[in-house]
């Protein structure tokens, strides 16, 4: 029982990331009808917002401290971040310590702007072009964004630690009345799951309970009619693109303590997120979320030693690497439209 619970918990963080990226992909696809191969790059840019903020916060003055010397007898240089000078020792180091959550505030405007610029500057011109062109141009954009990040930040992963109180693990089993040391779980993963649940919930609430969301949903169902009613639907869809970019970016921001940001993390997640979207059913928001969590949890179950051992006996070691693809193939063979796909989406 506790082993199963542990695997479900372990699958939640990856599942949340898949669900968030797939949600954004589906939003863009559902509103604008474009498959965005650059969505993984948006995830990566989100993670690099953290890196940037961390760098900005750590800009330091260098002073020579005459009281301490190194082994050669030279006085040591002491770096003090400006933040510490401005806000005092305690507040300053707390701000640096909390740079990942603070990066959320920094990333939201950045991602909204990136999404808005991307839609207005590039993707707008591709609505009437064939789907193959849309795929190709966003694929090219993904390469360009990735290489720009690589040129400025280098090819190595940059560690971005979580705030100190969220580092380390805790005994999750005790919380829910199980034996001690049965289910040990890192704090940050729980934070990540809670955060993505909030984001997913607010996206759905936004679409369901606001006038703006109602118009967007109507536009997803029948764009032309909404346009005929005198509503500027294009503008709203552009804003939705920005929101989708922000969702991917925030997923990247919060994921950065789990996986140090590197320039190809977006591509790694993109392929799996596509699988998630296809399994969930193209154009279905609940499907994307459901499939994201299901596949994440499935992946973590496949990495259990018992399961691995079982497949190893069948000459298939490390089944966890391909389980998602295998399941996706089976689901598509049985239900070609995906778990919650509607008829008539992408079936020309």
């Amino acid at each position: 029982m506790d082993a199963i619970l542990l695997q479900i918990l372990n699958g939640l963080d990856k599942g949340s990331a898949y669900a968030l990226i797939a949600l954004g992909l589906t939003l863009i696809f559902g509103t604008l009808g474009v498959v965005n191969f650059a969505h993984g790059a948006l995830f990566m840019i989100g993670a690099f917002c953290v890196v940037t903020l961390q760098k900005i916060l750590n800009i330091s003055t260098v002073a020579i401290d005459p009281t301490t010397v190194d082994f050669l007898g030279n006085p040591l240089k002491v770096k003090t971040p400006y933040i510490v000078n401005w806000f005092g020792e305690a507040a300053g180091s707390a701000i640096i310590n909390w740079s990942v959550p603070l990066a959320i505030l920094f990333a939201i405007p950045v991602m909204l702007f990136v999404g808005y610029a991307m839609e207005r500057g590039l993707i707008k011109h591709f609505y009437k072009r064939p789907h193959a062109d849309q795929i190709l141009v966003t694929f090219g954009l993904a390469i360009v964004l990735q290489e720009i990040i690589k040129a400025f930040y280098g090819a190595n992963p940059i560690p971005t630690p979580a705030p100190e109180i969220f580092r380390g693990s805790f005994d999750f089993g005790v919380w829910i009345g199980m034996a001690e040391n049965a289910v040990i779980y890192p704090y940050w993963r729980l934070v990540y799951f809670a955060f993505s649940a909030i984001i997913i919930g607010s996206v759905f609430a936004f679409l369901q309970f606001t006038t703006f969301g109602m118009v967007v949903r109507a536009g997803m169902a029948d764009r032309e009619t909404v346009g005929l009613l005198g509503i500027n639907i294009d503008k709203r869809f552009t804003i939705m693109f920005g929101i989708a970019a922000a969702v991917a970016g925030l997923a990247g921001v919060m994921y950065s303590p789990i996986n140090s940001p590197n320039y190809h993390m977006g591509m790694d997640f993109l392929v799996l997120s596509f699988v998630v979207v296809v399994v969930g059913g193209m154009g279905s928001l609940p499907g994307a979320v459901l499939a994201g969590f299901t596949l994440g949890i499935l992946e973590s179950f496949a990495s259990m030693n018992e399961v691995k051992g079982f497949f190893e006996a069948m000459y298939l070691p490390s089944i966890d690497q391909i389980i998602i693809y295998l399941v996706a193939i089976i689901i598509l063979l049985v239900r070609p439209r995906g778990l919650m796909g509607r008829a008539g989406v992408m079936e020309e």
Partner: protein, 393 residues
């Protein structure tokens, strides 16, 4: 110029054969006359021609073709390990295995079309990469890659007494033997491996031309133009698309096999989806749906990859040393993002430019320029089919 050749296939074929066979001489002044690069031109040319049979003719955009290339490489290396160092059995096995593999993947992926198809092939390619990288380590030797060893059986070859690894050969002609010819201060290198690849490229090109002109090819073009209408008229398009998929998979297998012939090792990174992206790029850049386009695109990308990767900051400083210091540093600073390790950035930008402004690729661009020089109107332009001409739906 090109449109005339299109009308006259025999001329095009002769022109192509001349270009390929004279490659070592024609490209030597450009600094690309050495065997390694020439072989890559041919191999990626074959790969792109094969991809074009699927994408250019049927319009199905596969993002997983590198998987077939990798499968071809692995099977060829296994043939070198087990049977003989002769390249012919290795290539046959590579093509057959890649064909079977693409039959399997094509059968599943072709159940859907459009974006679904692209995503499915992408997922399959990534799965094959994971399979090769970790799951099937006994067959693929995991991250290290599959290599020849001294104690491989090689049951058809004579016992290896030299103490070194044997090299691949074509009935005794070693692949990496090169004869050099000096002429007016330039060195021309004629390499067996290159000429073997060149003959394969010419055969591949000829076959592609026959497919383009055949009733089968016409059917594929019809599928690209309007698949619905075909379905309504009672034609089952699935066997045709599947056949195109398998043929292009076999081309990729041949390319992968040749890669193993020129350098007998196979690694999982050949199957990664960036490698699939590269062949898409080559085809689009040259001009998808045209005969010469993919080969040109492959040559173009491999050539500039080679040139650009070699440029570094000191070379740039050398070029711009005539400028005032501040300006020189600024220009070098801007340009250094695009050369050397930044080659992929240039490639990405170039790719976006081509997709945005020149959807027909370089051949379309050349045709446009020729028309412009002749002062003709754009509308009466060329026979080169524009891949974006979408049918009325």
């Amino acid at each position: 110029m090109f449109d005339k050749f299109q009308n006259n296939d025999r001329m095009l074929m002769l022109f192509f054969i001349f270009l390929v066979l004279a490659g070592p001489i024609l490209l030597a002044p450009l600094g690309a006359g050495y065997p390694d690069l020439l072989q890559r031109f041919c191999i990626f040319g074959i790969f792109a021609i094969g991809f074009n049979i699927l994408f250019g003719l049927t319009g199905y955009l596969s993002f997983g073709h590198a998987a077939f290339l990798g499968v071809g490489s692995y099977s060829a290396v296994w043939m070198f390990k087990l049977l003989t160092m002769n390249v012919i059995p290795a290539l046959i096995l590579a093509v057959v295995v890649a064909g079977l593999f693409s039959l399997l993947i094509g059968y599943i992926s072709l159940r859907r079309s459009g974006i679904y198809f692209s995503i499915l092939t992408l997922a399959f390619a990534q799965m094959s990469f994971s399979l090769a990288y970790s799951v099937l380590t006994p067959i693929t030797n995991g991250e290290t890659g599959l290599q020849l060893t001294l104690d491989d059986p090689r049951i058809l070859d004579a016992a290896n007494t030299s103490g070194g690894l044997p090299s691949t050969n074509f009935f005794g002609l070693t692949m990496n033997s090169t004869s050099k010819l000096e002429f007016f201060g330039m060195v021309f290198q004629f390499n067996v491996g290159f000429y073997f690849c060149a003959v394969m490229l010419i055969l591949a090109f000829y076959l592609a031309m026959r497919i383009f002109r055949s009733p089968f090819g016409l059917m594929l073009k019809a599928i690209k133009t309007n698949q619905n209408r075909l379905n309504y008229t009672g034609v089952n398009t699935r066997p045709y698309t599947l056949a195109a998929f398998v043929i292009s998979g076999m081309y990729a297998g041949l390319a992968g096999g040749l890669m193993a012939c020129t350098d007998p090792l196979a690694g999982a990174e050949r199957m990664q989806w960036t490698a699939s992206g590269e062949v898409v790029l080559m085809t689009i850049l040259g001009g998808s749906g045209t005969l010469l386009g993919p080969v040109l695109g492959a040559g173009f990308i491999k050539y500039f990859e080679n040139i650009f990767s070699k440029i570094n900051e000191s070379v740039l400083h050398g070029w711009f040393s005539f400028l005032p210091d501040g300006l020189e540093d600024l220009i070098v600073w801007v340009l250094h993002f695009f050369v050397g390790k930044g080659w992929h950035l240039t490639l990405g930008l170039l790719f976006m430019m081509v997709v945005i402004f020149l959807p027909g690729g370089l051949l379309q661009g050349a045709a446009n320029i020729i028309d412009w020089i002749r002062g003709k109107k754009q509308s009466s332009s060329t026979q080169i089919s524009n891949p974006n001409s979408m049918p009325a739906e």
